[in-house]
Symmetry: C2
């Protein structure tokens, strides 16, 4: 049985939302899995108790509470939290993998702290110079992986080239495909276009059978590439801007309740809640970052993504 | 009367679309304006002739043809086109301003060549270190100016700080406002977040009354800032990705003709065709870059934007 370690205190809405999300995932999943909930023991006891009273379909024995007394504050040295606050929920959910007590970790907490914990506790996978955070975006034909979306704000050419390899390996493993297509995000498709590091990355990728060349922003959501590679600053902006744009559109639609309802099913495929968690690729383990503003539904989908990432 | 110089050969769809777009702008504009059409003389004669036969409301005397025999090829040194191909339509439409024969220039042709021509022929405005291309995006409350969207793929801190000033001055001039709010696009709002040049730009902007701090991607389409500043790589990706996302959504909606029609009016505000042309800020003159894939309607709106930019 897959064992999931969850940072129950991470995210903007606290333990109640995280636990409910994981319970919803357990109910939705055909494959059973065990969850270790990291956080304040007393609080988690209470949340699980409430859920037990609310209804059936909830097996308490599949949820183990990992009491984490450490609390991270603004005074902590961010890069040392993995060591200084080893008993915090975000660090513990990663460390449980190292201790052989979990197969995957997920958190909706601070991205930098999660990545630092994964890097220093689990370590980089062999041959990887920079791990990267990857996120799926919807397209008319298939989900597309965009990376990096926030682990590295600046990247050298060899990092970008490495992301192409990491992303292709992930898609290939997840979907059992050998024909993965990856492109470097750029402002044009001609070889002379773009910043030095992007042009140099293209040269490093010559001969890579998965690499299809530069891809412009207006092709990102068309599904031409399975993997779109950029630095973490650009990826973060791309992802958050699309969310922002999505909100704008649903805002416009909300004026008419009828239209909104008719459309919601179709639009649902575009809802950031559905593509929940971003895997951190290139480390020794399976670590997923859920959105800070995750709802119960987002956490549910993040947990299901975590199971899929481990299952392969 | 405002005199507009138009690169009639620029853009993916050729002179026919550009000329029809400008004629449509003339018919829609309450303020009369004169147009100088730069391009192949014989072709432009034919297009104008066809339009004249098609219907009324078209005054031939408002359109002067500027025959441009030079054709730019792939062999041309891109940075020298402004000099080597001085009689090409894209270079002439800019040079006419320098010669005092036009008040504004617009082209749907190559961005780099248009910017190079503007820089070398018209020159930078006083105190400006880097001109930038700016584009309006729609939000629920007002259009927001994003810049740079493609003139400078990489930027130093002082360039980003300069863009804040350029953008605020433009909005202030265009809408007669003194309370313009500008933010630097970043991956977080805390001072320690983001790449060096963005954090340093924030320090340079301390005390600037229009500067409101870092703005994340998920706030770009909310209208919190009037001006969103980033380097040209990020801005280009932001703009083109949003277009791509918009196409994805309209693609989903197109399955149901009824829904599509009900929605089209509302969605129209989000159509890239409507926010047509991007002004190049920081040069001695008024130069607008229209989208390469401009339709007749895009060109029409680009021309109307050009008039507005001059009119102030």
């Amino acid at each position: 049985m897959i064992r999931l370690a969850v940072d129950a205190e991470g995210g903007d809405f606290g333990a109640d939302v995280v636990v409910r999300g994981v319970v919803a995932a357990r109910q939705a999943s055909s494959v059973p899995f065990a969850t270790r909930l990291c956080g304040d023991g007393a609080r988690l006891e209470r949340v699980l108790g409430e859920l037990g009273r609310e209804g059936p379909g909830f097996d308490n024995s599949e949820f183990v509470i990992e009491h984490c007394p450490d609390v991270i504050t603004a005074d902590d040295r961010r890069t040392m939290v993995w060591k200084d606050k080893a008993a915090s929920s975000i660090v513990r959910c990663v460390a449980l993998q190292k201790e052989g007590q979990a197969d995957a970790s997920m958190s909706a907490g601070d991205t930098g702290i999660l990545i630092g914990s994964a890097l220093f506790i689990l370590g980089r996978a062999e041959g990887v110079s920079r791990p990267a955070l990857a996120a799926f975006i919807p397209t008319p034909v298939k989900p597309v992986l965009v990376m990096d979306v926030g682990a590295n704000v600046s990247c050298r050419a060899e990092h970008l080239a490495g992301f192409v390899e990491l992303g292709c390996a992930y898609i290939s493993r997840l979907f059992g495909r050998s024909d993965v297509r990856a492109g470097l995000l750029n402002v044009g498709t001609e070889p002379a276009k773009g910043p030095d590091e992007v042009r140099e990355a293209a040269r490093l990728l010559e001969g890579n059978k998965n690499y299809i060349g530069f891809i412009e922003g207006n092709k990102v959501f068309s599904g031409e590439a399975d993997v779109v590679v950029c630095d973490g600053f650009v990826g973060n902006v791309l992802l958050k801007t699309s969310e922002s744009f999505y909100s704008l559109i649903t805002g416009f639609l909300a004026d008419s309740r009828e239209m909104f309802e008719i459309l919601s099913e179709k639009m649902d495929a575009l809802n950031p809640e559905n593509y929940g968690a971003a895997p951190l690729l290139g480390i020794n383990g399976t670590v997923l970052k859920a959105h800070g503003g995750s709802s119960v539904r987002s956490i549910k989908n993040a947990a299901l993504t975590a199971l899929k990432a481990v299952g392969k």
